[in-house]
Amino acid sequence: MRTFWLLVRAGFRRHSTYRLALLAGVTTNSVFGFIRASVLLAALASAGSAIGGYDAPTALAFVWWGQALLGTVNLWGFAEVKDRVRTGDIAVDFLRPVDPQMAYLAGDLGRAGINLVGRGVPAILLGGLLFDLAWPPSALSWVAGAVSVVLAVVVAFAGNFVINLLAFWLVEIRGITLLWMITGGLLCGLYLPVPWFPTWLRTIANWSPFPSMLQNPIDILAGRVVGTDIASAVAVQVFWAVALLGLGQLVLRAGRRRLEVQGG
């Protein structure tokens, strides 16, 4: 556990080196926040009433929490593990006394931490300053929202980790990564809230792990999901975190048996 914590801190420090990049991220996220907020408000004005449970303040909260958490939750994936599998460096990870999956998870939590502080907080403050957005309605929503964000980071990491490990069997996983990114981006609730989807698409989204990566924490923080519904939103996330981490362990073990590193 102590090692895990040390690795989290190392990840935090590693990614905090690039402060200008964090500021750049905030800027870009805010510009997209402005555009998306304008579009959603126009849609609500055109509908004349709430759509899918979103009125103007919750829709604005949806947009700005989404932009704020975009850097925290690694939706677009990472290539580090895939590259290490291809070069054979993953063998070094296997030799270490910590489980590779846990080590990378710790690093990713650290990365998420600095991005939340350096990118998420400024973005949501800016959104809150310029727009009249809905804040979490109670202390419970804040706490559950925080837990939900951590789970979202874990689910996104665990999913991407499995994708990266496919490099054990495939020479080039770019196509699969792309497919994962495109479906994920659409179904996680970054562009538009999942409840706005037509029924069939919403069903697909709800059976996928993607809403657990963004839509669930946003809904809790925006106060659209309250009371006992919070418990079920978090439970779904726990399910996906456990399932994908477990799948990752299985794939990692199978890949380890298959791995053959040449050289001396």
């Binding site: 500021l23 870009t28 997209f32 304008s38 126009a42 849609a43 792309l178 497919l179």
Partner: protein, 272 residues
């Protein structure tokens, strides 16, 4: 040397581009995957528009067909610009690795070399989605066809591509200052593309001014689409303004040229 013809001067670029194109076709499976990937990106972008219109009938004064036309025109221009100069995005990597110096020792201008350093053929996927959307929009929309309409559409696609290319070039020039903060410029390249595919009526005043006069992406799709469809009701987008699209492209390129010049002046080399 003075009587060297234009086609002779352009020959190195033709050879370079042809070699880039051939290189991408070498790994057939990978190339097909990439194309499918950009088709997916285009479809995801379209899904966003479609989901909104699943909930409302009109958005920012546009019905679905009009919004489809705006979506198609902006995506067409963006994917063309992305194909020709989108790889200027890679500039921070070249700067950090000191590879820009290698371009400087070659006997061709830096910008021209960087532009022809790649031709991202995989973008034809997104281009195809945009073309299908454009066809559907033009067939279903009630357009009073005339030679002027056709000319306006062609003019729009050409100028729109020029506008997005200018934004990419301006972003490239600024990279010489930013390096680690390369993501800053995404705000107006990718952000601009996202703004271009919206009805400009959704934006509050200051944002509209920004997307019309500073990063003129309103000219890429919305303003011409309003004119082509003959839509009334937007005081800030009179129909004659659509014909000013080339002026917007010129303005964008003036800014881009300035940014690029400042950036390359600032660049000191990687040393060593």
């Amino acid at each position: 040397m003075a009587d060297e013809s234009l086609s002779e001067r352009l020959r190195p670029y033709r050879v370079l581009l042809a070699s880039r194109a051939r290189a991408q076709m070498q790994y057939r499976a990978s190339f097909v995957t990439d194309i499918l990937g950009t088709v997916g990106v285009g479809l995801a972008e379209f899904a966003e528009v479609w989901v909104i219109f699943h909930n409302v009938d009109v958005l920012g004064g546009l019905d679905f067909t009009a919004a489809l036309l705006v979506f198609a025109l902006s995506n067409l221009a963006f994917s063309l610009a992305d194909m020709f100069v989108g790889h200027l995005d890679q500039l921070p990597r070249f700067i950090r690795a000191g590879q820009v110096d290698a371009f400087y020792v070659r006997p061709l201008p830096l910008l021209a070399q960087l532009m022809t350093s790649d031709l991202s053929l995989r973008r034809v996927g997104r281009l195809a989605v945009a073309l299908v959307a454009l066809t559907v929009a033009l067939v279903t929309a009630p357009i009073a066809w005339s030679a002027a309409t056709v000319a306006l559409i062609v003019l729009t696609v050409v100028s729109g591509t020029a506008i997005f290319s200018a934004l990419f070039t301006a972003a490239g020039g600024l990279q010489f200052f930013l390096v680690d903060g390369s993501e800053f410029t995404n705000a107006f390249t990718y952000g601009g593309s996202y703004a271009a595919q919206q009805s400009q009526q959704v934006f509050p005043g200051p944002l509209r001014i920004f997307w019309t006069f500073v990063a003129p992406t309103a000219f890429v799709a919305y303003i011409p689409a309003v004119a082509v469809l003959g839509l009334p009701g937007d005081r800030l987008a009179p129909h004659w303004l659509a014909w000013c699209t080339p002026l917007a492209a010129l303005l964008a390129w003036a800014i881009a040229g300035l940014c690029w010049r400042l950036g390359t002046r600032h660049y000191q080399g990687a040393g060593g």
